[in-house]
């Protein structure tokens, strides 16, 4: 197997002026108004085209795209359960590999894509994801992170950010709301030493689509963590989804980066970050936070960004080894 860097030589960036016109995900889906998750999924599918087989975990994207008798999928799609998208995709990918080898089906380039929300990834699906990444299946796993269990009515997940109000992390006299820090899924995926990990936001659509394309070119597992605004769950205006997806990057709360064969690379350096309050104030899930709470979040975001810069070897001109734990 040639290295990821070698495989990426074939990579051609998408041009904002010449985006592919095909929509492997059809309109008429039942996502909420202004859904940032379905928009991210649409961009993922545009980047991949039609030679793709999709395995979906249970979740918002599954129910809005497949309510019988209507399907929004123009490509083959399979849903089995909530926690096992990575395991099901392992089976599809392996079946293709062996059937091509045995001459049972013609050889052609097919991409295998598993999609799940943050609950299906960081909580209930973490084990099956870890197993599939470790085994090295040639597939892309996309986590569409809307930071809570939206499909069941906005319950907290391990991906819900600190301070956020959800129906199971309500702020009260003795609680700030979600009192744990968001689980760093991309770093967990990177710790599996897979060839490609990236974070993306639909506000930066060329970057997102480029990363999806790279993930499909690289042999072996690829993990993409995509920030997916949820106006319904975050209590923000549907028209603000892109603003939110942009501000989360501009405030350094959700930095965009890639980890290619263990080398961390910042996609977009935010030299003059906006204050986190600008992002938080757009969403009513944070409206109970005090100035002190916001200052706490700002400090933690600053610290994490410094750590990320260090991983990317960008801190004070020092070359720092990219892998976690080294």
């Amino acid at each position: 197997m040639s290295s990821a860097t070698e495989q990426l030589k074939k990579f051609k960036t998408f041009s904002p002026k010449k985006l592919p016109l095909e929509e492997p995900l059809a309109p008429g889906h039942r996502a909420c108004q202004g859904c940032g998750e379905v928009l991210a999924l649409r961009q993922v599918m545009k980047a991949l085209g039609n030679e793709v087989i999709v395995v979906s975990a249970t979740g918002c994207m599954e129910i809005i795209s497949s309510a019988y008798p209507q399907s929004a999928w123009r490509v083959p799609w399979l849903h089995v359960a909530f926690e096992n998208a990575a395991a099901v995709a392992s089976g599809v990918e392996s079946a293709y590999k062996v059937m091509v080898r045995k001459g049972k089906i013609p050889k052609k380039k097919v991409t295998f894509l598993a999609i799940a929300g943050d609950g299906g990834t960081a909580d209930i699906g973490l084990q099956s994801l870890s197993g599939a990444l470790e085994r090295g299946h040639d597939f892309i796993y996309v986590c569409l992170d809307n930071e809570a269990y939206m499909n069941t009515g906005i319950q907290r997940s391990s991906s819900t950010p600190y301070g956020a109000m959800t129906t199971t992390s309500p702020p009260g006299k003795k609680s700030i709301g979600q009192h744990t820090w968001k689980k760093n899924m991309a770093a967990i995926a990177a710790a599996h030493d897979i060839p490609y990990v990236a974070t993306a936001s639909p506000a930066y659509y060329v970057d997102l689509m480029n990363k999806v394309k790279k993930a499909s070119l690289i042999e072996g597992p690829a993990y993409l963590h995509i920030f997916s605004p949820c106006p319904t769950g975050w209590r923000c205006a549907p028209h603000d989804s892109i603003q939110t997806a942009r501000l989360v990057v501009q405030t350094r709360i959700f930095p965009l980066y890639e980890v290619i064969e263990g080398r961390w690379k910042l996609s977009r350096k935010i030299s003059k970050p906006k204050p986190v309050s600008k992002y938080l104030k757009l969403q009513q899930r944070f409206r109970h936070l005090t100035e002190k709470d916001i200052a706490f979040i700002q400090a933690r975001v600053d610290k994490e960004y410094e750590e990320l810069l260090a991983r990317c070897g960008l801190q004070e001109g020092k070359e720092v080894p990219g892998k976690i734990g080294t």
Partner: protein, 391 residues
């Protein structure tokens, strides 16, 4: 040509899977299933079987991976046991609903707690209504034969349902028996290559596993139920064909010394062989005792079962699991339900025996056959007894 060799039953099962030229195996180790998948991984490692062996991180993922593989159109196998089967149960319900013809060997073992690695039918009973076709092997040759039968039935376009082949853990899986291993040519004549009726293919995109809105869920389940019932004649046909090819004929319900019998023992699995010895012993003493062994468990062979027990006075139903519903064992509950509509019903006593590897001896079977008659004579209300339990 077939070869008769002394071989551990687990390995014979693996050989059957190899002869089926399976494409994908996804499995997780659990005692006493391990020898089956260990041997399969060796066959793949040695290039004797061209398959993807996927060492998944749990049984839940094993069944999930099998669903993906079967949906992609590959011939797919897994094996498990006990807690492993319990962990994969969520997905065991989904595989038949999606009509995915996976074949699974289950080395039957007790369920925790207390944790026990030994054989009984607790796991088999936990999975009984998941929608899989289920057969139960009594000896090593059957285990080998039933695997080939399972692929043929599962993949038949009139069926397209997954099949479990149950075999008692240790008492069957770990013993060495003389088994006739068929040749590749012989198997090829019996088992055609698998061609999926519907699969994940970019040339013809389908949406598998959509949301079953209330307007369609009932119809979907009805269709699945009818598919399971419609599998019955295909199961019988596949056994008939097996007999024609290889001379070993199998039936959903086997009878032994039932002619003129007043009392019948009912068993499932490997204890049937001990029960036969007990029947021989009782018959030699002039007792009118016979035996009925169930080979097909799902769909339940109502017709054949009712035929087999017709006219007898007493049934001693031997359960290898406790139902924990206050009414004894699941097999007896099922059999009582099967007999409900009969005008003349036998008197039934249920014996729960052989939990977690405890021996069920010839003497125990004699005790059961005598016990049901004694209970009837005493006009006791039909109930159950746990055999060999210390007071």
């Amino acid at each position: 040509m077939a070869k008769r060799i002394g071989i551990e039953v687990s390995l014979a099962v693996s050989e059957a899977v190899k002869l089926a030229d399976v494409d994908v195996i996804a499995a997780y180790p659990i005692t006493p299933q391990t020898h089956i998948v260990e041997h399969l991984s060796e066959l793949v490692a040695d290039g004797e079987l061209d398959a993807e062996f996927i060492p998944v991180e749990s049984e839940h993922s094993a069944m999930s991976t099998c669903c993906g593989s079967a949906a992609a159109g590959a011939r797919t196998f897994t094996a498990t046991s006990s807690q492993g089967l319990a962990l994969m149960l969520e997905i065991c319900y989904i595989a038949p609903a999606l009509r995915l013809p996976i074949v699974m060997a289950v080395a039957n073992r007790s369920l925790s707690a207390p944790i026990s690695i030994w054989n009984d039918h607790s796991d088999l009973m936990a999975s009984r209504d998941t929608g899989w076709i289920q057969t139960v092997a009594e000896n090593g040759q059957e285990a080998f034969d039933l695997i080939l039968h399972a692929f043929r039935v599962a993949e038949d376009h009139r069926v397209l349902l997954p099949v479990i082949v149950n075999m008692d853990g240790f008492t069957l899986t770990h013993v060495i028996e003389p088994i006739e291993i068929l040749s590749q040519e012989e198997v090829a004549r019996y088992l055609p290559p698998y061609s999926a009726r519907m699969r994940l293919d970019t040339a013809k995109p389908v949406t598998m596993g959509p949301v079953g809105v209330p307007e369609v869920y009932t119809e979907a389940k009805k269709a699945q139920d009818e598919a399971l019932k419609a599998a019955r004649p295909v199961i019988l046909e596949a056994w008939e064909e097996f007999g024609k090819h290889f001379g070993r004929y199998y039936k959903p319900v086997e009878t032994y010394c039932t002619e003129g019998a007043e009392t019948l023992l009912i068993t499932m699995g490997s204890i049937g062989e001990t029960a036969m010895s007990a029947v021989d012993a009782m018959r030699s003493q002039g007792k009118k005792v016979g035996l009925v062994r169930l080979r097909l468990w799902r769909p339940f062979p109502f017709t054949e079962f009712l035929e087999a027990v017709k006219g007898v006075k007493y049934l001693a139903v031997v359960d290898r699991a406790l139902g924990l519903n206050g009414a004894g064992g699941p097999l007896a509950t099922e059999i009582k339900a099967a007999l409900y509509d009969e005008e003349e019903r036998p008197y039934i006593w249920n014996y729960v025996a052989g939990l977690a590897g405890r021996d069920v001896t010839v003497e125990n079977f004699v005790e059961m056959a005598d016990g049901v008659e004694a209970a009837a004579a005493d006009n006791l209300k039909s109930d159950y007894t746990i055999i060999n339990v210390r007071e």
